[in-house]
């Protein structure tokens, strides 16, 4: 078949900033899609050599094995602080964090809110998969009401565990952020939009406009105990209604 394609031109393939290695993600995991989107944006903007990434503690911890840019591995939740330290030293680099919902919305809440409030000129890619993937599927701050996880075995109960947090909406109320949006990777159409959002976030930073964040709704088939296809479906049926997609804050100049 490869020979069959020989006289054709490649219209889609692995972005250059993404190393030619297999990932450790489970089959059907949304992280893989978003890793690629970030690499594509870095390629398109031509900033591979001017980019410094911060990987989270979470399933995406090995992001540095995939992206071919300088990278930090953060402590759980502290990526925004690390990115801040880095950005202050290298104001001309494009500095981004990539974080899960446990990482960003639980243990890292303060670091997230304050990087945003400072208008720290960094970009955050926030993977909301409504669970703690890496540690085996515990309840996340973004787990839905009624969602069964290993630490909400009978489903998340409001009385005990409270309400799922909408980080994009929360952050958009602050003065610091320039760009905040929520996207999904549950269909190819959404994936295209997700990439546009990520690009916009990086561009916001490059223009020096301040903090940018893209929340990505992303399936975790393993910890949801579903097939990849079922996970996509569950995401669209359950997460989309609670976590509406859209732009919650756009840069002044782009309004």
């Amino acid at each position: 078949m490869i020979t069959e394609m020989n006289n054709m031109e490649r219209v889609f393939g692995r972005p250059e900033s993404l190393r030619p290695v297999s990932t450790h993600y489970c089959p059907g995991c949304g992280h893989g899609i978003v890793n690629r989107l970030v690499a594509e944006v870095i390629d398109e903007l031509g900033i591979r050599e001017q980019t410094i990434g911060v990987a989270p503690v979470g399933c995406a911890v090995f992001l540095y094995n995939y992206l071919n840019v300088d990278m930090f591995e953060a402590a759980h939740g502290r990526a925004p602080a690390i990115a801040t330290g880095c950005k202050r030293v290298h104001p001309n680099m494009t500095v981004f964090t990539y974080q899960g919902d446990g990482d960003l919305a639980a243990i890292g809440t303060a670091e997230t809110i304050h990087a945003a409030a400072r208008g720290e000129n960094i970009t955050t890619i926030f993977i909301n998969n409504a669970t703690y993937g890496m540690t085996g599927g515990q309840m996340a701050p973004t787990s839905l009401v009624g969602q069964k996880t290993t630490t909400s075995p009978t489903g998340r109960k409001i009385e005990r565990a409270g309400y799922p947090i909408k980080m994009a909406e929360l952050l958009a109320t602050l003065d610091g952020p320039a760009y905040i949006s929520r996207v999904s990777v549950s269909s190819a159409k959404y994936v295209v939009r997700a990439k546009q959002a990520i690009r916009k976030a990086f561009e916001t930073q490059i223009k020096g406009l301040g903090y940018s964040l893209v929340e990505v709704l992303s399936p975790c088939p393993t910890d949801w105990h579903m097939t990849p296809a079922a996970a996509i479906e569950w995401l669209e049926e359950n997460m989309l209604p609670h976590y509406p997609l859209g732009e919650f804050k756009v840069p002044q100049e782009a309004r």
């Binding site: 001017q50 840019v69 990278m71 591995e73 670091e111």
Partner: protein, 352 residues
Amino acid sequence: MDKRFMTGNEAIAEAALQAGCRYYFGYPITPQNEIPEYMSRRLPEVGGTFLQAESEIAAIYMVYGASGSGARVMTSSSSPGISLKQEGISYIAAGELPCVIANIMRGGPGLGGIQPSQADYFQAVKGGGHGDYHLLVLAPSTVQEAVSLTMESFDLADKYRNPVMLLGDGFIGQMMEPVVFEKRPAVSLPAKDWACTGAKGRASNLVKTLNLDPAELEKHNIKLYEKYQKMRKDEVRLENYLTDDAEVVIAAYGSVARIAKTAIQALRQKGIKVGMIRPISLFPFPYQAFADIAKRVKKILVVEMSMGQMIEDVKLGVCGAAQVSFYGRVGGMVPSYEEIVAEIEKLVKVAP
């Protein structure tokens, strides 16, 4: 050289600046607020960055980020704030990131008090964080020494790619003394080719601490261990004060050592030959000095502003060869030289 009259906190901040530190991340806490306050004034003047973090934890990870980006960077705090940084300190040691952390100790545990203390010795030298790592720990006993040790700290941090802790008690931080800022001779230090600066014209760099393969993680631990062994060999710093003819020796560090000096003078006037070993580097600890002195001197009095922490290291050095006694005050109470004199007198009175 111009003498300046400064608090220890200000002097530490100015010394850091003069040592090329251009990034400071911290959070207010008494009794070290003069460090961030000084930095907030001076760093912008020299093109540096002062940032008051949202917490001590954020501050230590900003340090992680700035250090991993190749910069000279410091943070400072006091006891409870330093406890909050323990995870970050373990990460910084694991990631081999050079930086300077000042702990201007106050009375503990818990919220405790705001008066001077030395009760964070164990935390500093044994590792308050998890895992096998060590900080290089330096304890000044005058404001002038705070200046020179601060400057040295940055070089040592870069030399070993290891965090250095400047361990001061509240006195060191808040006392004012005359200081002179002497230019330090330039030291040749390894290039920071491992830092995250953008992967231009080279393979990408990575600052990390995870090693899921136990064999790899063991290797890394052994690598760190060898670094600590090198420090143990090369970086022991201490002051021998009148130990040559001493019949009793005091072990003390930081401002307690100054008070002990006054006690020693008073005791010598009474004809009691007392000397002192003052560890300046608490890690690496001058075990050998104590092993050596114990061959000759049979009574050692450890004086600390704690319930007894450094005494364990003194005992490990002495290894049973001399009697090791303890006198301590805590919670912001300070041993007076008169009390030390009395302790020594008690000690020499009893037959060994």
